[in-house]
Symmetry: D3
Subunit: 230 residues, 6 copies
């Protein structure tokens, strides 16, 4: 690991990010071929937020938030800060002071593979965070990490500038260059789902709407009227 | 495992289920002799829902929700869908489209030993889910399981038609044939608790109300005024 | 383990506790030199509560809440009940009846290294609980433990009378004799943070406000404009 | 839950059990249609044991091993004791004294969804145990459970007399009535695997041996010689 | 937390420790009234070691082993080093170099509520370690902790000089002043168990040897010959 | 995710890999600047193996090992197969048949972020595996993944051809282009440690050998002879 801060990163297309945020995490993840999704332990600290933005990435050491302070300066309006950690850690690396600083720069949210604190204030401030844990554990500022290098965060490799989308379903990451293409697929998928939703609401069965009966029978599914004796 | 769908199941008595839902999960579990409770990792995706209904059961494969689609057709008004999985899995097997379809059939809720997604929409739709995880991870429709066979869900063996009760305390399952008897016990217990609640609120100690002082002394409990030197 | 109930305990200074509750868990934990914090699995069963009080401690056996009933009698107005367990356990040792009894005595909250149930009622009653799990699992009253002995609760050794502070960030314990001194430090820290918050909100960078640039450079941090070839 | 001991249970056919133990857990599980496998947290306390026998089942309370003492009397030569628990628990419910007693009755092993202790002695005695944890935590004998009722153990519903097979891969349960039929399938599968093993050892690819190339191509798999630009 | 090193600690009686190590962790834990046992996640990195010694305690920061280096100087022949951590951590804080240093001082083992590395070498050196994890993750030497202050390690509060016993069943801690008394109880218990073992091996049932039949009947246990219809 | 198999990958320098395997995981990880280490849940299924080789990577679906079969063909003598999974999964994706096939091609080991089975046979065959779990759970061959694309495995992003080193301490990954440079650093570090080991064995304290006394004092460490009153 080199202790570097990369200053000028390329960011995913803002229109594509906007579209992806609009369709939401589950649809964006599907549009990406069912990939890019962070592990489900990444949960929002308060419900209802829905964001998208290009990633500014941080590689932090366990129990040490020095690099988050460094990263603030690299953030622009609309960015999402994404923090990976060199080892499993749940310490409260992030709180309302750092959030104040990020909000002053226009950052729209934080995704952190570690802990977060001051959650009541963060909710009042309207600053959304997806984290592995809520913990008041204080951290030091003693060991270098890196900013804007690729980091693994909750099982996903995130490059600086990638599109990061977060909502109540979790967090998905779309590669910077693929954001536009995936956004189009996401919109199509959403429109398609709207049609299906209407059919299902009217009582049409998915078995019929998706034409599943034949493949099910071919795979060997059998319908019986009485359970077999145990 | 046989890949079957059992079509005609017997369902627990609706009146008994109504009573059990009314007394809630904790009281129903006590009335059942402190059994039938799913593991505490089964949590509601939104707070405040309280349901009860006979189980339509699904045995699904990890990462595969094909059998849930099959199960919808077997559901009737008032049913609760209960999904077990052949291996530990947190993928988002269930979302708002399936919920739309279930609601069209009058199903009152879902209990799934795996993941769930579209949680914001599900809350807006008022469709309650108890799940092991929230995850946007998409699933395939490739491998058969079974519908309306006994399944282990979160540590409890659920038979089709069993009474399933869910609220903020978790999920409890009462065997189909025992529902009426347990419902009566649950009502008695609830009435009994109301009386105790009034006494405790007035300042009577549980030690006295439950006559614990003598058995405590007999078991060897000693009261002292000063802690012993460490 | 001796099965004792210690009747007369000394309690931390109420003014100090009030101050500590006012600054909150994260600040109190920092003021204590980044110690005293319970493990982050201790979560409030409903958000927004913020309490402080001297600890009445309970050592309970797994699946057995007998000692909690014993402890109620030892509680005074303003106390917080803290329950440790001799082995990992998530059973629902505490519910609305015990809460009714504690509220009748003026107890302000519960911290339990096990499970809790009747969470909807507890929220309606306004009784705050921090627990390891929510579980309806019923418990027995069969084996002795102890009351007002030192107990380890979620990784922290708690002595009777220690100051216990709980909010949405978790639970912190401040030793009885140190409460006043830590409260003063906490207030100073909070005032200091208010000033920092204003600066950061105005756009001043933490890098500058905390004078981090020199130590970062000294530690070897390098700024580059282009990422190195992978 | 009724506190009963069922005295006369029917046991799975010993020849079938012997065959299933011979083919091992993984093969028996496959022969059963990929079901019946306990969760992977069930691990042997020492490596190398391989057993099979009809289940004598125990439903125990957390932290209480009274029912195991009761169950010993119900065991016959060749049986396997299977212990489920009414709540998650890791206490050391079983040790060398109980093992001595079980060995005196000819029991061949223990499967326990809780903790086990005296593991060094148990290894020296040659008594195999599959457990959720190793823990010296002592237990009480205070609350009833049941013997020879169906119990869920590590995610599997076990009926008294079912065939239980354990080896280094884990534990699988085959329903009493299906044991003979599954044993035959297991033997066929094993013979079939021996032939495949020889082919693979000689360098034949599974892709060819299993005729996978065509379905892979049909599913859309593409071979390329250069990775796409990231 | 004060950053202190306490130089002159009192140590538990070596004869008592020797006796406790001889009876082993499970028996010592029982003799202590079923207390003092560390959580079962503390496992030996290699099987078969059995040690006892007075504790030299370390409070370390996550990802930082500086204080372990400080603690070595405070160790005497026969001591056991016990390391607690201010936050959950699995980093490899300890390896063969530190073990070499501890062995040069006659330390008999390590108990660490974090990670350990160089496990193959440690086994070859015959240096026993009980840890929460095996991890090669390197640590820094940047932040102070303390030596020979009370620390919570795996759920147990350990004071400097307490008797620490470790074997394949886990780790138990006996208070310094109680070691002699507990050792005597442990020896009695062991002798008593030897007698029981002989009886059980001869086929006497625990039900009879422990006179359980009457209390079981009184508690309501019923024997039946046929299972009730499900 | 594209369903591709990349056929011609560049592999890290074999001499460098040999050196890295020789110094072992912990030293290689340190030489890499304390990075590249997989999460500590990746454990060898049998102790004592020590391997190194260039990665052939697989991205598999949960409960589906189809892509492992595809990957075999892409392996060369000396390779290590590295399997990541699109979602958390512990199913037994790998067993002795696949191991037979890999050994026929000269593959030296497997690293899999999922389950493994046939562990007794694998040990007898001398085929080393690092996995997240041991599980007999059978898998299907139904959904495509990819071969020789970058995969996240146990928290580390692995590119095809990267140097993968595994031993009893875990698994570390060194980027293909950096292997030679890291190998040199690893050798130096190892030589350096040999010298330190001799000093420490002779009784020199690390405090002195590493010149820690001054920085410790500067950081504020205080030595006292009597503990402060609690």
């Amino acid at each position: 690991m080199k202790s570097v801060v990369v200053r000028n990163i390329e960011r995913a297309d803002p229109n594509a990010i906007g579209t992806l945020a609009g369709v939401g995490v589950s649809t964006a993840h599907e549009a990406l071929g069912r990939s890019g999704l962070m592990k489900p332990y990444m949960r929002p600290i308060w419900a209802g937020a829905s964001i998208g933005g290009p990633a500014v990435t941080v590689l932090a050491q366990p129990g040490d938030n020095w690099m988050i302070h460094v990263a603030v300066e690299q953030c622009q309006k609309g960015d999402v800060l994404v923090v990976g950690c060199t080892a499993d850690n749940t310490d409260g690396m992030f709180g309302d002071l750092l959030a104040t600083s990020l909000m002053a720069r226009g950052v729209t949210g934080l995704v952190i593979d570690a802990g977060c604190r001051d959650v009541k204030s963060l909710k009042e401030m309207g600053f959304p965070v997806w984290s592995k844990a809520i913990s008041a554990k204080g951290t030091v500022k003693a060991t270098l990490g890196a900013v804007n290098v690729p980091v693994v965060c909750a099982g996903i490799n995130v490059h600086p500038g990638d599109a990061v989308i977060g909502d109540d379903d979790g967090v998905v990451v779309v590669g910077r260059k693929h954001a536009a293409e995936v956004a189009i697929k996401g919109e199509k998928r959403q429109a398609d789902e709207d049609g299906k939703r209407r059919q299902l609401a009217s009582g049409v069965l998915g078995l019929d709407m998706y034409n599943m009966r034949e493949p099910l029978a071919k795979a060997g599914l059998v319908y019986i009227d009485e359970p077999e004796g145990d």
